[in-house]
């Protein structure tokens, strides 16, 4: 239908009509039809028109009203019909309006090591450091996205796009020990909070096309999504920035040049806090993608990101609940600045039947004030991850491996623990996995998390959202395997088993004044069901469960009041999309 409409639109213009005679695929010589070839097997058929034949033209109002006249009405309620608020028809000239709404609700019972309150406990007889582990989160986000787009996007990139996506979140957390949610133990063990975050607010301007293939240069200004690599190992966020991007050579090459000034995050929702001054933290990113390299079906990317953090001057930053976030309450706890440049090579695609995602980063920079020495330190850290997989009809088998380097001596002048800027790893089970989903407080080792929520690195940050990167960390080794089973078109079942180790525990030894903590974190086993009753993304139900079977190192760090040796994470999630 759209094809016909577009053709009509094209032929309306005399200039295009003139060009029509020359219409052909760019770069491909016109294919001459051999004169002696049989035109058709059906001698009674009408002969095809000559390539140079001029069409008869009749003016019509425009292609969108045209479809209305032929009986396709506007239906704002059914996203699968023509809808003006879904961008199917213009609101004015070739200005389109796109609207979507997503209600994403999570109920998450989980357990993780919890400290008993320092100044006060929940119960009498709490004589030890480890408290009751069960807790749960109920969080619901309404994501409302609106965009005004100029230009018909069926064939070419839009001329500009103005997008605005506020997210309204309400969340409630219940725990069993005081002082986990608020520093003041008298504030209890339940917290209800809400926030309106701004996840998109950008103007995307199409600067120019640079080829007949609509290779282009565009610039996007404002709060926008950005991902540093295919799986979000280093920086995946919606952040305030300016980004120049485009393609070349029929989209074989893609590039991004961006500058982001990171916004503060709301503590309890994790959403962008656009109502505060942005952080004194800039990310400069340059990357280049090459499709079908080295083989057809595999995309390679090279990237350089520079993270310039100047939060040493801002004084102390506390989160909404009152906990210190910057500087992190470990080591000397003195405010600090750092500069770190990440050099990355990433790839995603397939080699024949084998799928592969791989990432490698080297971090090189300076920490102006190493938290353990109070002196300038060189940052030299690296990270590598790969996930090969193979598909057998409805079954995909996966292997995952990741290595993040550790800092082996916190008191030297080098920081060799790898930390990301803002990771969001879609890897090794992602948020299905216990280790990636849950934040684990480093009890007795400072107000930092062993690993952050929705994070894989054991980077000992105060939090992923509000803390600074920390390159004095124990690193990580992950080896795992998994399977995705498309049991029904509507139903996918995934299994993951990851074995986790620290790369080196010297930093943990120092923070806990406990020598010889084992590297063994343990087994992370998880399973997930994803049910899409209508085979669409409009209703997605997800249920996953994970357990962490602690290894020696984890047991040397943590325990629970109940004496449970297993920790769990259950995610039940309904996503309704309009």
């Amino acid at each position: 239908m759209r094809l016909i409409a577009a053709l009509f639109w094209l032929v309306m213009s005399p200039a295009y009509a003139d060009d029509l005679a020359q219409l052909r695929r760019p770069g491909v010589p016109p294919r001459e039809v051999p004169a002696d070839a049989p035109l058709t097997v059906d001698p009674g058929a009408v002969a095809p028109p000559s390539r140079d034949l001029r069409y008869e033209m009749a003016p019509v109002p425009d292609r969108w009203r045209l479809v209305e006249t032929i009986g396709v009405p506007d239906d704002p309620w059914n996203p699968y019909r023509q809808s003006t608020i879904k961008g199917d028809r213009p609101i004015y000239k070739d200005y389109f309006f796109g609207f979507s709404a997503i209600l994403d609700t999570v109920y998450e019972p989980r357990s993780f090591p919890v400290p008993v309150g320092l100044q006060s406990t929940g119960n009498p007889g709490d004589n030890d450091a480890f408290g009751r582990t069960p807790s749960n989160v109920l969080s619901s986000s309404l994501i409302i996205s609106s965009a005004i787009i100029k230009g018909d996007t069926a064939y070419k990139p839009p001329d500009f796009e103005l997008r605005f996506t506020p997210v309204i979140n309400k969340n409630r957390v219940e725990v069993d020990e005081p002082r986990l949610l608020y520093p003041d133990p008298s504030r209890g063990t339940t917290r209800t909070d809400q926030f309106i975050g701004l996840q998109d607010a950008f103007l995307d301007y199409h600067i120019r096309n640079v080829s007949d293939r609509y290779d282009f240069d565009s610039i996007r200004v404002g709060i926008q999504p950005f991902i540093s690599d295919f799986r979000g190992f280093l920086f995946q966020d919606n952040q305030l920035g300016v980004r120049l991007f485009g393609t070349r050579s029929n989209n074989l090459w893609q590039y991004n040049i961006g500058w982001f000034r990171r916004l503060e995050k709301d503590t309890n929702s994790g959403l962008n806090d656009a109502w505060h001054e942005p952080r004194h933290d800039d990310v400069f990113a340059v990357n280049l993608y090459r499709q079908d390299f080295p083989v057809l079906g595999f995309t390679s990317q090279a990237t350089v990101l520079h993270n310039r953090n100047r939060e040493g001057e801002e004084g102390f930053h506390y989160d909404k609940n009152g906990f210190l976030q910057r500087p992190a309450p470990i080591g000397f706890e003195r405010p600090r600045d750092y500069d770190v440049t990440y050099f990355g090579l990433n790839g995603d695609g397939h080699f024949g039947r084998f799928n592969l995602t791989a990432s490698a980063y080297y971090a090189h920079g300076k920490d102006r004030n190493n938290p353990f020495t109070d002196e300038q330190a060189d940052i030299r850290a690296y990270f590598a991850a790969a996930e090969p997989s193979i598909d057998f009809s409805w079954l995909r088998l996966r292997l995952s491996g990741a290595y993040a380097s550790a800092d082996r001596d916190p008191f030297d002048r080098k920081e060799t623990g790898f930390d990301a800027i803002f990771e969001n790893p879609q890897f090794a089970g992602a948020d299905t996995s216990y280790w990636i989903r849950q934040a684990i407080p480093l009890i007795g080792g400072g107000g930092v998390a062993l690993s952050g929520r929705n994070g894989m690195l054991a980077s000992l940050r105060s939090s992923k959202e509000e803390g600074q990167s920390n390159f004095n960390n124990p690193g990580l080794v992950l080896l795992g395997g998994g399977a995705d089973l498309d049991i029904l078109p509507e139903l996918r079942f995934s299994l993951n088993a990851n074995r986790l180790w620290f790369a080196d525990t010297k930093v943990l030894d120092t923070l806990r004044m406990q020598e010889g903590i084992s590297r063994d974190i343990g087994w992370d086993l998880s399973a997930a069901l994803i049910y899409r009753p209508f085979q669409t993304q409009n209703v997605v139900l997800r249920l996953s469960g994970a357990v962490l079977l602690p290894g020696k190192g984890f047991k040397e760090l943590f325990d629970s009041f109940e004496g449970n040796k297993t920790y769990y994470s259950v995610l039940s999630n309904i996503v309704l999309t309009y």
């Binding site: 709490d126 004589n127 030890d128 470990i330 080591g331 030894d509 020598e515």
Partner: protein, 634 residues
């Protein structure tokens, strides 16, 4: 004499000192003083400098001409100024009115220097080197100081230990035996360091030149503190080993501070100091502390140091105290409700727990905790006191303070004792120095308002930790905008120089002592803090109240019979050693002794919805074991 001492040692069962302990020679003391004085001279900041040995003997005091002369001879109200005196001013309360010792302008600078030197020596050991800067970091209203919502420093209150009125700490009249008292308790003013020889702690050096007996309330910057630079110059050649300094030791993940000053900041060359005799100033006598003649230090654990090894009393190697006649102090004895055998068993078990406990504040990592353990009767009589070999000296007095504090506030007599204390105070010749000091019943009334009218008379078992919960500037601890704890000064007034009940119990003793040293009071403070003509006896709080964790009361059934106090390592370790040591002894003895019945413990109380704590045992308690939650259910 030596033979006689040796014989005595054998007689009293001292096993002898296996390792050669180091000590400062008189020449080294002179060297240290000259190094520090040369730095002071190079900076044009005349200083008072003191050197002490590990057990607190003052080995030398050098006062430079013109030192601390901003307010020469300032005297307390009613006492004529003495222009010959050089005095320093205690730091002001940054948030409001000065109370307690805050703003006190009349402290002789020699006393400040001695206090700083003693602090460097007392807080340190062969496994940890702490300075007065370290002390300042761990005694403030927050840890780290200035971090909003952070609970108080783990050693909040330790500054009021080693008091000049202590019945445990000895005086200069006791010859070379320690532990010696300290004029102002422990100091939080940068400019006091420990001194080491061949990796062994041999003493401390303290300096003051800036006229201010201060505290660093901002530990997040780096200061160039004159006192600290001068004292640091004194340590050169006697430096603490780098791997055991405070800045290699974390508490709850936070590194402690050792020194903001670095060797490179010095204005002089400590390797080539000016001769002490060439520096304007003199070695000065200090009443009650120093004769005026530079002397050598005592080797720690030599019997003349007052600390001696003992192999048999508790069936394991420990260190006991001896006096200047080489008589053992604090051998296990029976008290009301406790037999000597029971006391011995509790001590043995506590020392055993310490021996297997993973230290919090020592390097190398996975050292065992080093502590002093005190056991007292329900009325504060010392029933036993013993130490592990390398326990820091400050814990000697502090362990006894904690034991006595737990026994005292767990007693049904505590409220009446506090009332009698006020009666005695009002009868003293010196009128109440309000608003610097308060009547102690002020705190009783606050506590009764919070806990109920029978507070401190109802026999609730109060651990040192629970007492600490109530003795913080805010309640709950560290949370801004909340009222002060009932045993604390008002939140706007509470500082490390004015803690509340703890200080007010001994305020007059400290002031009396300082005036005596100045020559403005006829008599020194008695060797018994908090004198009260009370039915509870004279030892109830005879070395002062302590308000940080590490002590629990001992019960026989429902009856309070005493308390055990532990000090020297992390506060969680101190708690555990006291609590588990008592529990294990009780299990072995089977005589009805135990920790307080759970239903009587302070953690049953939830004033203002904030449950008090009883004990908190550490995250990974023991060496060679992954056991956690080791105090659970006990």
């Amino acid at each position: 004499m030596t033979r006689a001492l040796l014989l005595l040692a054998i007689l009293i069962g001292i096993s002898g000192n296996a390792r050669a302990q180091q000590a400062l020679t008189a020449a080294e003391v002179t060297q240290i003083l000259s190094q520090a004085a040369s730095e002071a001279q190079a900076r044009g900041r005349p200083a008072a400098i003191a050197v002490v040995d590990r057990v607190g003997n003052v080995l030398g005091v050098f006062q430079m001409t013109g030192a601390n002369n901003a307010d020469p001879g300032v005297a307390p109200v009613g006492i004529p100024a003495n222009p010959a005196l050089r005095t320093v001013r205690v730091f002001d309360n940054p948030r409001g009115q000065n109370t307690g010792l805050n703003g006190a302008p009349f402290v002789p600078d020699t006393l400040a220097a001695i206090t700083k030197a003693i602090t460097g020596a007392y807080l340190s050991s062969n496994g940890n080197a702490f300075s007065t800067r370290t002390a300042g970091q761990i005694v403030q209203n927050q840890f780290n100081p200035g971090e909003r919502n952070a609970p108080s420093g783990p050693l909040y209150g330790v500054q009021f230990s080693q008091l000049p009125c202590s019945d445990l700490n000895l005086r200069a009249t006791s010859g070379t035996t320690g532990p010696k008292r300290s004029p102002l308790g422990l100091s939080a003013d940068p400019g006091g360091f420990p001194l080491y020889k061949n990796g062994e702690l041999v003493g401390g050096v303290g300096a003051i030149a800036d006229g201010a007996y201060g505290i660093d309330v901002n530990v997040f910057d780096r200061d160039q503190d004159t006192d600290e630079l001068i004292a640091l110059a004194g340590t050169v050649g006697f430096d603490a080993p780098a791997n055991i300094r405070a800045d290699r030791i974390t508490v709850d993940g936070k590194l402690l501070r050792f020194s903001d000053a670095a060797r490179g900041n010095l204005a002089s060359d400590p390797a080539n100091p000016a001769a002490l005799s060439s520096i304007a100033g003199s070695v000065v006598a200090v009443t009650g502390y120093f004769s005026g003649t530079i002397q050598a230090g005592q080797a720690f654990l030599a019997i003349t140091s007052g600390f001696a090894l003992d192999g048999h009393t508790y069936g394991l190697l420990s260190v006991i105290l001896v006096d200047h006649t080489a008589t053992r102090r604090y051998d296990p004895i029976a008290g009301a409700g406790l037999t000597a055998a029971e006391v011995t068993s509790i001590m043995r078990h506590a020392l055993t727990v310490a021996g297997s406990a993973r230290a919090q504040i020592r390097q190398p990592l996975n050292s065992s905790a080093q502590v002093t353990v005190s056991i007292v009767s329900g009325t504060g009589e010392v029933l036993a006191l013993a130490r592990t070999v390398d326990a820091p000296v400050f814990g000697t007095d502090v362990s006894l303070q904690k034991a006595r504090s737990a026994a005292f506030l767990s007693s049904t007599q505590a409220a009446s004792f506090l009332r009698l204390t006020d009666t005695a105070r009002m009868a003293a010749p010196v009128p109440l120095l309000s608003p610097l000091e308060s009547l102690v019943t002020t705190y009783l009334q606050q506590a009764q308002g919070l806990l109920g009218p029978n507070a401190f008379a109802d026999g609730v078992a109060m651990s040192a930790r629970a007492i600490g919960n109530m003795a913080r500037p805010t309640f709950p601890d560290g949370i801004g905008g909340t009222p002060s704890g009932p045993l604390s000064r008002d939140a706007a007034e509470a500082t490390p120089g004015s803690t509340g009940l703890q200080l007010d119990l001994v305020f007059l003793d400290i002031v009396t002592h300082v005036l005596f040293v100045r020559g403005d009071a006829p008599a020194d403070a008695a060797s018994q803090c908090t004198r009260t003509p009370a039915p509870m006896g004279t030892r109830v709080l005879a070395n002062g109240l302590q308000v940080f964790p590490g002590g629990v009361p001992i019960f026989r059934g429902e009856t309070l019979v005493g308390a055990i106090g532990v000090s020297g390592d992390g506060i969680d370790q101190d708690d555990m050693i006291a609590f588990l040591g008592l529990h294990r002894a009780a299990s072995e003895l089977g005589t009805g002794l135990n920790n307080a019945p759970a239903a009587r413990r302070a953690d049953q109380l939830t004033p203002n919805g904030v449950r008090l704590r009883y004990v908190s045992c550490p995250v990974q308690a023991f060496l060679g074991s992954r056991a956690t939650n080791v105090c659970r259910g006990l």
